[in-house]
Each structure stands twice: as structure tokens, then as C-alpha cells.
């Protein structure tokens, strides 16, 4: 095989844009993705067997998706892109002059291994939702806002009949609108922030006519379904014994504390909750890439600081699908030039670079508006489980800090097991940090997902070939 090979990890907007840009410029692309169909979380497709004739009813910016999908199909037919579905990547390994090995596990069972060799790697691994703990958040019926949306888009199912959508962030609006349109009764949309002032005065928003139209569309859908919106409110507690039956919501005061006199109960069988997004950075971290805070560092060409490794989309900082597309496009063009031994010409991607700059400014402004209540941890009772996997209570975390002298997350983890379970602290990290009063530090995970020991033991067997 003569032409150089690029492995793209993740077939969401960033990965697809990069794959198309690189393939169009003569690069052989292997697109490695964990689910059966391309699209990522944003363009998650209904399972083929469901025979959806009108999947666009669940989506936004469908024309963009059609362009990506048709582009991918064309390159796959022409043999320029190999699309590996159901591949769960657990490690990208540097092999010096030999390039990279991408190690994956196949299918939902994730026991059979697979390996892909490449000369360059683009990390487009996306993000996942951050959820802060509150009493009752482990009850069945409490799901993440993004999870409710993923189940709707992919499985064409609703989590329940009566839903409260709560937390904070720009994701809540499309989730509430989507659930209402699909037939759920949305009892309330509860956001601890109050974005209305931002919408009125924001210069960042004024530069985003598309975002204004998108927001107006969702607001219109919510109005049509008579969804009430409670801004500067928070969910104080989820009630139920075996499953969710109701939530208590309350208004927040100026300092971000719950106003007890405003507490009221809303009956619901589902709470879809989220407090923003976090990037997936495990593969980058294991490769030795620089991580700034929660985000993988990337330069103007979307290169990480590890030669041969690029990154684009949510993994370099949460900013939505349009930003991911721009970053992916730039990355694909940069990779195509550099793998051909040429210095890329940034003038070729000037339009994408302008979009990237504009959207990064916009999401920086968004970030400053949407924030969880400043004193959310005060609402977490000692009995509340904060680490869902290991069932560690807030009381145990507080004891580790107060009685046992833990001063950082790692010590809290060693003393309580918080963060040691299946999810490796992805779900509880921010919650435990808040309850402990510790700084939220990046967690180092050698592998991006659980790996059977047999697979691990055999991973180096082809070395001598």
C-alpha cells in the first residue's frame, strides 16, 4: 500500500469532516467508530431495523448531515475510506517510525480485539455529559439529558410519559423540544442559569444569526407544547422509592443558594438532567498529548503537541457540531498536506478558520452564562450517593476530607473508592470534587474503556510480524 493512511477515531461531525477533507486529497482514511452507523451523538441515526422514513424529524441541520453522509458513501464506494463500525477504541499506541496502532474491541460485547495501523491519527472522540449529584439522582427514571436524546434518536423510544428537563446548558432546550415533539409531556424546563439577559445583550450572539434562529425554533416548539420554563431554578431532590415519582424544584437567590420558601413539587416519571459537557480525552492522554484543563490542546492546524496526532471537535473543547465541522475540515486538510510532505497553506481553509474563531467566541460567552448553582454541593445530603458505581456517599467523601485529611481527589478516591468503579470516575468526578471541596483535576486512565485481560495479554503478539 503506497498512499499514507490516516486513522480517524470517531465518526461524528469532526471525524467525518476530517475524513472527507483528507480522502478528497488522496489520503487513505480508516474511520473507526463505536456504533453501527456514522453520525456521532449529534447525528445519531435510528437503528436500521426500525425503518425510519423521516429521521430528520428528530434532527437539526439535516442538510449538513446529508452532505456528510453522501460524501462518506462516495469515498467508501471509491475505496478511499474504510469505515469500521462497532469498533470501541481502547488505546492508540505510538510505534515510532512505524506510525500508530489503534487497538479496538468489537461489538457491544467488546471482547474480540482488532488492530488498525496508521501513519497519522485524528482524535475526534467527542464528549459526554456532566451531571452533578443531588438527593435521589440514582433513582431509575433519572437519566442524563443527552441520554434521553440518544435513546430517542437511536431507539425511537421515550424514557417516560411526564418529563422534567433540568440542569443547565444549551443542550436542555433541544432535549426538551425533542421530547415534547415526540409525544412526551414536558412538565418543566428548569435551568439554574438565566440566559435571557445574555440573549438580549450579547455581541457574541449577534454575530450568530444561525444560533438565534435555532434558539427561536426550539422556543417556538416549547411554546406550542405549553412547556413552562423555570429560569434561575434548580432541582433540589428527586423523590421515589423504587423509581422516580416527583422532583422538588426551587428558585435560586442572587448568590446561587436555594430559596427554601420557593420549594415546590412537580410530579413526573422522568427527570432528564445535565450540567454541561466534558470532552473525552483518554486516548489523547495515553498518547502523551498536552491537556489544558479538560481539553486536548490543538494548534491552528488542529495538531496536538504529539507529532502525527491531530484532534478536532468536542475533545479539544466543547463547542457544538458546527465548530466540530470547521475543526475537522481544517484538520483533514492539514493532515493531507503534511502526510504528502508539504507545508499546508492556511489560506485554503480561511472560511473554516473564521467559523472556528466566531464559534469559539460564542461558546466562551455561553460558558460564562450557563453555570450550575454556585452552592450546589450544600444541597447534597450526607446520605446521597455521589459515586454511582461504588455507592460512595457524600458523607463518606466529607469524612475523608474532614476526619482523614484528604486534600485532593486522588486521596479521596484511595480512602473512599469514589471513582474506582466501572466508569472510572467519568460520572462522579465533578460531583466528588465539589462535595470534597477539592480542585477538579484531570484523571489519568491508561485505557479508554475496560479491556479483557486476555486481549491485553495478546495485544503485543503481532509485534514480530
Amino acid at each position: 500500500m503506497s498512499e499514507p493512511t490516516l486513522a480517524v477515531i470517531g465518526a461524528g461531525p469532526a471525524g467525518l469532516a476530517a475524513a472527507l477533507a483528507a480522502a478528497a486529497r488522496g489520503i487513505h482514511v480508516v474511520l473507526v467508530d463505536s456504533v453501527p452507523a456514522a453520525g456521532g451523538q449529534f447525528y445519531r441515526q435510528p437503528a436500521t431495523g426500525l425503518g425510519a422514513r423521516r429521521p430528520q424529524a428528530l434532527h437539526h441541520q439535516w442538510h449538513t448531515w446529508e452532505r456528510l453522509r453522501d460524501g462518506l458513501d462516495g469515498h467508501v464506494r471509491a475505496g478511499r475510506v474504510r469505515h469500521l463500525t462497532d469498533h470501541h477504541v481502547w488505546l492508540v499506541e505510538r510505534r515510532g517510525a512505524a506510525g500508530f496502532s489503534v487497538h479496538a474491541l468489537l461489538g457491544a460485547e467488546q471482547e474480540e480485539p482488532a488492530e488498525v495501523r496508521a501513519d497519522a491519527v485524528l482524535l475526534a472522540t467527542g464528549g459526554y455529559e456532566k451531571v452533578l449529584p443531588f438527593p435521589g439522582w440514582t433513582l431509575p427514571g433519572v437519566v442524563t439529558a443527552g441520554g434521553a436524546q440518544a435513546m430517542l434518536k437511536g431507539g425511537l423510544v421515550l424514557p417516560g410519559r411526564t418529563v422534567v428537563v433540568a440542569g443547565t446548558g444549551p443542550l436542555l432546550l433541544p432535549v426538551a423540544a425533542g421530547l415534547a415533539t415526540a409525544g412526551a409531556t414536558v412538565a418543566a424546563l428548569v435551568d439554574s442559569a438565566d440566559p435571557t439577559g445574555f440573549v438580549r445583550r450579547s455581541r457574541a450572539l449577534a454575530a450568530q444569526p444561525g444560533k438565534v434562529a435555532e434558539g427561536a425554533l426550539y422556543a417556538g416548539q416549547l411554546a406550542r407544547h405549553r412547556v413552562r420554563t423555570l429560569l434561575h431554578h434548580t432541582v433540589v431532590e428527586a423523590h421515589g422509592t423504587e423509581r422516580l415519582e416527583a422532583v422538588t424544584v426551587a428558585a435560586l437567590d442572587r448568590d446561587g443558594r436555594v430559596r427554601p420558601d420557593t420549594r415546590r413539587r412537580l410530579d413526573c416519571d422522568t427527570l432528564a438532567v445535565g450540567h454541561g459537557m466534558l470532552p473525552h480525552t483518554d486516548l489523547a492522554d495515553a498518547l502523551g498529548c498536552r491537556i489544558d484543563g479538560t481539553d486536548v490542546y490543538a494548534d491552528d492546524e488542529q495538531r496536538t503537541d504529539v507529532p502525527g496526532v491531530w484532534a478536532a471537535g468536542e475533545t479539544t473543547g466543547i463547542g457544538g457540531s458546527a465548530l466540530a465541522l470547521a475543526e475537522g475540515h481544517i484538520a483533514g486538510r492539514s493532515i493531507a498536506a503534511r502526510l504528502a510532505g508539504r507545508e499546508p497553506d492556511p489560506r485554503g481553509w480561511a472560511a473554516a478558520a473564521r467559523t472556528r474563531k466566531r464559534l469559539r467566541a460564542f461558546f466562551a460567552a455561553v460558558d460564562s452564562v450557563y453555570a450550575p448553582p454556585a452552592h450546589w454541593a450544600e444541597q447534597v445530603t450526607d446520605e446521597t450517593v455521589v459515586c454511582r458505581c461504588e455507592e460512595v456517599s457524600a458523607g463518606a467523601v466529607r469524612e475523608a476530607v474532614r476526619e482523614l485529611g484528604a486534600g485532593d481527589l486522588r486521596t479521596v478516591k484511595l480512602l473512599t473508592r469514589a471513582g474506582m468503579g466501572w466508569c472510572q470516575g467519568r460520572m462522579c468526578g465533578p460531583g466528588v470534587a465539589g462535595v470534597a471541596g477539592c480542585a477538579e483535576t484531570a484523571v489519568r486512565r491508561p485505557f479508554a474503556r475496560p479491556v479483557p485481560l486476555g486481549v491485553l495479554a495478546r495485544a503485543g503478539e503481532n509485534e514480530s510480524r
Binding site: 463505536s34 451523538q41 431495523g49 457491544a108 460485547e109 459526554y128 431509575p140 441520554g147 425511537l156 454511582r388
Partner: protein, 99 residues
């Protein structure tokens, strides 16, 4: 309105799977979690420590809360695993290895 109508779904024929011996219907392509939600089931695991009920949480394979036993294999993520006709789903107690 329901999601299938909204997306104008014309699924292949429904098939039968079991949950703890009880028959439930599933549609082609649906995951364990999707079929259980459709059947009105929201919890299918008891935790290792307190035996508390759990079901789907993150919905995208990250949180491992939706673990379930399918065809005697414990610790399968219900949000990822597509169902096949005749699959036997069992509520998973604890690690799923002591049954």
C-alpha cells in the same frame, strides 16, 4: 404522537424476548434498554452494595449503570446491546456472577 410515528418508522416484524422469564416484544435494531423502556421497565439491576434498583443513566455507554445479564452473560450494557429474537434478559443482582 410517539417517536415511531414522528420518524415515520416502518420497522421489520416485532419479535419476542424474555425479561426474567416474562415475554416482551422488541423491534429489530432496538437495544435492550429501548425494548425495556417500551415495555415500561426502567430498572434491571440491583447494586452490589445496597441492592438498589438501577437502569439507564447516560444512554451512550459511558456510565455502566445499565448493566444487565443477557443470555447468561452478566455486565452487558443495555444501552449498547441490540436484541435478537429469543434473547433472555435477566435482572442482574450485584456482580451478576453469584447466581
Amino acid at each position: 404522537m410517539n417517536p415511531l410515528e414522528l420518524a415515520r418508522a416502518e420497522p421489520g416484524p416485532a419479535f419476542t424476548v424474555t425479561l426474567d422469564g416474562r415475554q416482551i416484544e422488541a423491534l429489530p435494531g432496538q437495544t435492550v434498554a429501548a425494548a425495556l423502556w417500551t415495555a415500561g421497565v426502567t430498572s434491571w439491576r440491583g447494586t452490589r452494595g445496597e441492592g438498589r434498583p438501577r437502569g439507564l443513566f447516560c444512554g451512550i455507554g459511558v456510565c455502566f449503570d445499565c448493566l444487565v445479564t443477557v443470555n447468561d452473560r452478566p455486565n452487558q450494557r443495555a444501552c449498547l446491546l441490540p436484541l435478537r429474537p429469543g434473547d433472555r434478559i435477566r435482572t442482574q443482582e450485584g456482580t451478576g456472577h453469584d447466581e
